[in-house]
């Protein structure tokens, strides 16, 4: 069972030294309370909770899984109690609007907490994660009445929420949605249909569950433009806002699945369940998307969390496990064998996990920081700029961080050798848990299409500007500094490839959309690796400046990780570039029947 230690030093480095988040309260009046002391206390407490409460439940939760019995779901032993402690600690209210009982803290801080939760217990994190998505959608699109009714309960965690999108025949293409809404005389609706893959659709944590459901009104236009959003509580709140009549929205079964077994994945049957329209008729998809973008970033944090957990587990094992001698001769002659950490290939795996994970954290928090600015900066232009950057980088954060989470988990198993494959060590669970993150909230292939097909063309590259200009300026300014040459030159090379690839996709994709489609995934990865290169340059610049005050060797290690990233990870951009520039022909030429 790998131990988990919340990486607070790493988190502080990114928050305080890289992003200078302690200046947020000055920059953004809404965050006046998010002072350094407050944030520090939150991180400490969150770390402790994750280490002591959530992580110990992770492996047993996986072993036991959820239980389904005639419409009710029982979560694994200890989860219910953990959730009670969780809401008691006020964790669900952290980033929420003070108007509804929230703490109004930056989403950035919540990102850090989410990372820790996902490292400790991804399945547990699903429940509050879905609630938060639900909260965001109602907050953005609900009527004042709906907000007053639901938000305080979602904020204090006494009710949870879901997002009911997928149906048996429609996943990615929600335009095919069949669930229908029929009007009641009182202005409410009745929902008929079946939703599947509904995380937290049914459980034993709370007295009520609030479903947000995509469905079609009788006069709806066909396709994606005819989808509306409804709120449908498990128990219809009575006049006092207490759970009242049981609504006919029932869990039909739960899925048996590869991972996140302690998270209940439900089939939900709507058999005339009473529901209320959220937002405007037929505008459900756009309402959903405001929520979905934040949700996608949150899934990226899941990937980061898993990667961190896998790295920590692997390092512990690599230090302890004694096998063979170092290739250059015994390093620990007093021991029967050297620990495997002496081996280049084991180091390759560890440093790959570490350098990408740290880069991912920097990238994700940077975007989290701008997510806050996009919603709270007093200057509308700054809000727009930040919003552009977040929109651009959301698919990259979601896809790259989850791809890395899975890859790191896999490397973790590899470092353990045969023991990694054995359940009791806990490493294979990470692989299984990580796998879904590459799929839900839009598969990583869909993220890539979103990036090349939607985000790049928006405003003829306006979103792209928010990333490309800072990087170009940074390279221009930093390339003069001799101590930075080892880092900035590789970044400059990768960035030039990224620029060329971007220009090529824009032009080739205009003439033939298949070209953009064929390049998308490799391009997304090229983009992400370059973005991490940028984050690493900025991190190493800080580390180099502070290397003389480095008692714990933190900055020295940062420099080493940066060197590894630049020398052995970033060059992957070269092959990605070559591959994507090869065009679509070799993909599309083969007739479908020849497969």
């Amino acid at each position: 069972m790998p131990a988990y230690k919340a990486p607070l030093r790493e988190i502080r480095f990114v928050l305080n030294e890289l992003l200078e988040a302690e200046k947020l309260p000055e920059l953004v009046p809404d965050f006046a309370d998010a002072t350094g002391d407050t944030v520090e206390a939150i991180l400490e407490e969150a770390g402790k909770f994750c280490e002591e409460v959530l992580q110990p439940l992770n492996h047993p939760g996986d072993e036991e899984g959820c239980h389904f019995d005639n419409g009710t779901v029982t979560t694994p032993k200890g989860f219910r109690e953990a959730y009670a402690t969780f809401i008691e600690g006020g964790w669900t209210s952290l980033p929420c609007d003070p108007a509804y009982g929230g703490q109004g803290l930056p989403k950035l801080i919540n990102f850090a907490v989410e990372e820790m939760i996902c490292s400790a217990n991804l399945s547990f994190g699903m429940y509050p994660g879905l609630s938060n998505g639900n909260y965001n959608a109602i907050h953005a699109h609900g009527s004042d009445e709906q907000k007053a009714l639901y938000l305080p309960k979602l904020v204090d965690g006494s009710w949870t929420g879901t997002m009911c999108l997928t149906e048996p025949h429609c996943g990615t293409d929600l335009g095919l949605c069949k669930t229908r809404a029929e009007a009641n005389p009182d202005g409410s609706y009745r929902l008929y249909g079946t939703k599947i893959f509904i995380s937290a659709g049914e459980h034993d944590f709370t007295e009520n569950i609030i479903h947000l459901v995509l469905a079609r009104l009788p006069d709806a236009p066909a396709g994606i433009r005819g989808i509306s959003l409804f709120v449908c509580p498990k128990f219809i709140p009575d006049a006092d806002g207490k759970p009242g009549t049981r609504n006919p929205v029932v869990c039909g079964s739960i899925e048996k699945k590869m991972g996140i077994k302690a998270s209940s994945t439900c089939v939900m049957n709507f058999d005339g369940a009473q529901a209320w329209l959220v937002g405007k008729p037929h505008k459900g998809m756009s309402a959903m998307f405001t929520m979905m973008n934040t949700a996608r970033l949150a899934v990226g944090m899941q990937g980061l969390g898993i990667a961190e957990a896998a790295y920590q587990g692997a390092v512990t094992y690599a230090r302890d496990r004694l096998q063979m001698r170092a290739l250059t001769g015994a390093k620990f002659p007093e021991k029967p064998a050297d620990p495997i950490i002496v081996h280049p290939d084991v180091r390759r795996m560890l440093l790959t996990m570490r350098s990408i994970t740290e880069g991912c954290r920097a990238l994700a928090y940077w975007i989290g920081y701008h997510l806050d600015l996009s919603q709270h900066h007093p200057d509308i232009e700054k809000r727009q700029e930040s919003d552009d950057l977040v929109a651009l980088m959301t698919p990259i954060v979601k896809a790259f961080l989850t791809d890395h989470g899975f890859h790191a988990a896999n490397l973790g198993v590899q470092v353990y050798g045969g023991h990694g494959y054995i359940r009791e060590w806990g490493m294979e669970q990470l692989v299984r848990d990580a796998r879904i993150t590459q799929i839900y909230e839009g598969t990583n292939g869909i993220q890539a299409l979103d990036l090349v097909g939607r985000k790049l063309p928006t405003g003829t590259g306006r979103l792209a500007r928010r990333f490309f200009h800072p990087v170009a300026d940074y390279i221009e300014q930093t390339s003069e500094k001799p101590e930075m040459a080892e880092y900035v030159l590789p970044l400059a090379k990768a960035f030039a490839k990224l620029q060329q690839a971007t220009a090529w996709i824009a032009q080739a994709g205009l003439a033939n959309p298949n070209e953009a489609g064929a390049a998308a995934t490799d391009y997304q990865r090229l983009f992400a690796l370059t973005a991490l290169g940028f984050m690493w340059c900025r991190m190493v610049e800080i580390a180099l400046a502070r290397k003389d005050d480095d008692r714990d060797g933190f900055y020295a290690a940062k420099v080493q990780s940066a060197r590894f990233y630049m020398a052995r990870i970033l060059p992957e951009t070269n092959s990605l570039f070559t591959i994507l520039m090869a065009g679509s022909d070799s993909l599309m030429a083969m007739p479908a029947e020849s497969f």
Binding site: G461, R465, F468, A472, T502
Partner: protein
């Protein structure tokens, strides 16, 4: 007989518009109307009409000088002035008695052998001439203009049995060369060519929309671009021309057509239309029409009428697969299963068969009808071209399969393989007797589209081509989307100059697109700027500068032959040509400041050169700088070739062609003349510019405007960059500055502006909305 002076009688919209176009051709014209019942000015009506001409938008007049060629008068005091008038156009109210009385009144006043024509659209020539003396009949014809006369290219000419052939020949020649019109010889039948088919189209389209239960948005979505008509479609077009016109036109057509004419079967009473007219919903000139803008509650909501109930509701965009599918051609459209496809078939099956049944009744050949519909209704293709696109045999078969009558001429075409064919690089058209006859262009008409049929380009890429147009002259054609200039266009400019220098004698830059060029492809530049590909943009500027420089200093004459918009980079290449032969409808301007930039391909430099003091200009280094600054910083666009001369986008000796079809021929002749005269390229010039003091002076003016709120914050930045270039950078008037030095300044200023957020925001806004952002 040459027409040296003209008279238009009737100063309504059409009459004054015709007078304006005659004046645009440089011909003096009398504009007469009746004496008003009140007031002292007996020519007030005509005078008022001229005032309206000066204010109307789009402008009927090409220059203020043209306005001075129109002399107002009245039909009681001024008929004595007709003694030296060669052509009198009658454009008075559509009443037979009034017209005939006027014709009689003119006898003895007008010059012997002068031409008399009527702009009537509803009274047959035979009726107009009934009972009139032979002397009138011999000089009389119908000249039917379309509204507005400056911009609509169709001029239908109808002669009677007594009309002297020279009358028709002279008026056709004048209409073609001087008025720039597309001449269609029509027979004396109701509606002539354009309206006979156009009115049938509108009526058929209304009837079918009612029968098939389409919304007006759906009808418009099909009856516009998908069938090759202007995007206004049908109901929006009716709003534009006025709903009250419909019953008039219908009544007149119905009164004149034979009872068995297919039109009589599709016309019907339409109570909704009558009610709308009665309620004042006569279209855009009234309270609204099929569409209206509801401003109740302070909002601005576009509403549309429900054809069944007559109630207005917020307009909803049509969602018809067939409208998109129509990109695949008319056949795809008319066979599409949805109601848009059914609608298209219902309208076109009737319309096109009708057209095929009207040859030679309304015109001698299919060419006249196709040209009439293209130049009179702005259709992309005429009816016979539409049939050919679907396949005449296929169309005939489908009519047969649906038990619809197939006109004999269509059967002939189905057997022969279409109404048109290309043989030996030459278009031939089908006669009703089943023979093909070559489509001959008049002398002086040279079309690139004809050349393309018979030859392959000398060189070509995705954005431009080079053609051999004979006599050692090459034609450089732009053909990218909207002829926006991109690296491919520039590369071909360079290659064309190299090629002509080695293998040919002269170059014409011309294309048959709607616009000569809307300027540089700013989408490309914006995207490159957004992803910080500065070297690529730097390179685009340098490439453009060197390509245009190559044009300017080529060892052979380069003649620019623009039509339509020539903006930004499209204007700049013309500024570098040895000479210009411009279509009268050429709209030139350096509009870069609208997107937060300045001309980067030599536009600043050339404008400085254009404004170097001539004999009559004020001397000193500042006036040219100030003039160039004004033209560029205000993004002035010349609204005609004549105005372009005033703004010095064109030189005084650059030539103007009124008829677009004659433009390439004229340009080629101009190039050959320059060759004959022993063409020598210009020598590079050196300029004396004011330097920083000039820049300060210009900036002071701009800052003054900014303080008054007349200049926007970013205008100040852009103007300063422009001022720095035009004032010559760090020079002063004791030194000289070379052309290349100014080009360098242009590039530097361009790049610095491109790195500013507000410039990128302006570019993005222009691309998304087509309008300048005011930031």
């Amino acid at each position: 007989m040459a027409i040296r002076k003209a008279c238009v009688i009737g100063a309504g919209v059409m009459g004054s518009g015709i007078a304006a176009q005659i004046a645009n051709a440089g011909i003096p014209v009398l504009l007469l109307d009746i004496v008003p019942k009140e007031g002292n000015d007996r020519s007030a009506i005509a005078r008022g009409a001229i005032d309206k001409l000066l204010k109307a938008d789009p402008a009927p007049l090409m220059s203020r000088a043209a306005a001075r060629l129109i002399t107002p008068g009245n039909t009681e005091d001024d008929l004595d002035q007709l003694g030296d008038v060669d052509w009198i156009v009658e454009a008075v109210i559509e009443r037979l008695d009034i017209k005939q009385a006027l014709y009689q009144k003119l006898e003895g006043k007008r010059q012997q052998g002068s031409i008399l024509s009527s702009n009537t659209s509803t009274i047959p020539l035979s009726t107009l001439m009934q009972g009139l003396p032979e002397s009138i009949q011999a000089d009389f014809c119908i000249t039917h203009f379309f509204n507005p006369p400056r911009y609509m290219r169709l001029l239908e000419i109808v002669g009677g049995p007594k009309t002297r052939p020279e009358v028709l020949r002279d008026i056709a020649d004048f209409g073609d060369r001087m008025l720039g019109k597309c001449i269609v010889r029509a027979k004396d039948t109701p509606g002539f060519v354009g309206n006979r088919i156009g009115v049938f189209w509108m009526q058929a389209a209304v009837t079918a929309a009612l029968d098939l239960g389409l919304t007006i948005e759906e009808a418009d979505a099909i009856m516009g671009r998908p069938i090759g008509a202007p995007k206004t479609g049908l109901f929006a077009l009716l709003d534009l021309v006025g709903l009250d016109l419909m019953p008039h036109v219908d009544k007149s057509m119905a009164g004149l057509l034979q009872p068995d004419d297919p039109y009589m079967k599709i016309r019907r009473d339409w109570p909704l239309l009558q009610k709308m007219i009665a309620d004042g919903y006569t279209g855009r000139k009234g309270k609204g029409g099929f569409y209206r803008l509801n401003t109740a509650g302070g909002g601005k909501v576009k509403e549309s009428i429900d054809l069944k109930t007559g109630a207005y509701a917020p307009s909803d965009r049509a969602r018809l697969d067939s409208a998109d599918a129509a990109k695949g051609g008319l056949k795809v459209l008319v066979t599409h299963k949805d109601k848009g496809g059914q609608y298209a078939w219902k309208v076109l099956s009737g319309l096109l068969a009708y057209a095929a049944s009207l040859v030679p009744e309304i015109a001698d050949d299919v060419v006249a009808i196709d040209q009439g519909m293209k130049s009179g209704y702005n259709w992309k293709r005429g009816p016979f071209e539409m049939i050919d696109q679907m396949g005449a045999a296929w169309f005939a078969e489908k009519l047969t399969a649906e038990n619809l009558p197939v006109p004999a001429f269509l059967e002939t075409a189905a057997r022969a393989g279409g109404f048109y064919k290309v043989e030996g690089g030459q278009i031939h058209h089908l006669k009703p007797d089943g023979s093909y006859t070559p489509l001959l262009r008049p002398t002086g008409v040279l079309l690139l589209s004809d050349i393309k049929l018979g030859s392959k380009p000398i060189m070509r890429n995705g954005s431009a081509s080079l053609w051999d147009i004979g006599d050692g002259v090459a034609c450089l054609e732009f053909h990218s989307k909207m002829n926006a200039l991109d690296p491919d266009s520039l590369a071909l400019v360079k290659q064309a100059v190299d090629h002509v220098a080695k293998k040919m004698r002269a170059l014409v830059i011309h294309n048959e697109g709607e616009n000569f060029s809307v300027g540089a492809n700013i989408g490309l530049a914006l995207f490159a700027a957004n992803i910080a590909m500065w070297p690529m943009i730097d390179d685009m500027i340098a490439t453009g500068q060197s390509a245009y420089k190559a044009v300017k200093f080529a060892p052979f004459p380069v003649v620019g032959a623009p039509s339509g918009m020539a903006l930004g980079g499209g204007c700049e290449i013309l500024l570098h040509c040895a000479a210009i032969q411009a279509h009268a409808e050429t709209y030139m301007g350096l509009v870069e400041v609208g997107v937060g930039l300045i001309p980067g391909w030599g536009g600043c430099k050339e404008m400085l050169l254009r404004w170097q003091p001539g004999a009559r200009d004020p001397k000193g280094p500042m006036p040219p700088v100030a003039q160039a600054f004004e033209a560029i910083s205000l993004a002035k666009i010349a609204k005609s070739a004549h105005e372009a001369k005033e703004l010095r986008f064109l030189r005084a000796d650059d030539a103007v062609t009124m008829n677009r079809d004659r433009l390439l021929y004229d340009a080629k002749q101009k190039a050959l003349k320059l060759l004959e005269a022993g063409y020598q390229p210009p020598a590079p010039q050196e300029l004396r510019l004011p330097g920083p003091t000039g820049r300060v002076a210009l900036n002071l003016a701009v800052e003054g405007f900014a303080l008054q709120g007349k200049a926007l914050p970013h205008d100040v930045t852009v103007s300063d960059a422009l001022a720095e270039v035009l004032s010559g950078g760090k020079t002063d008037f004791t030194e000289t500055v070379t052309e290349d030095q100014i080009s360098k300044l242009e590039k530097k200023a361009f790049m610095s502006l491109l790195r500013t957020g507000p410039t990128l925001a302006r570019m993005e806004h222009m691309l998304t909305t087509g309008k300048p952002l005011r930031n």
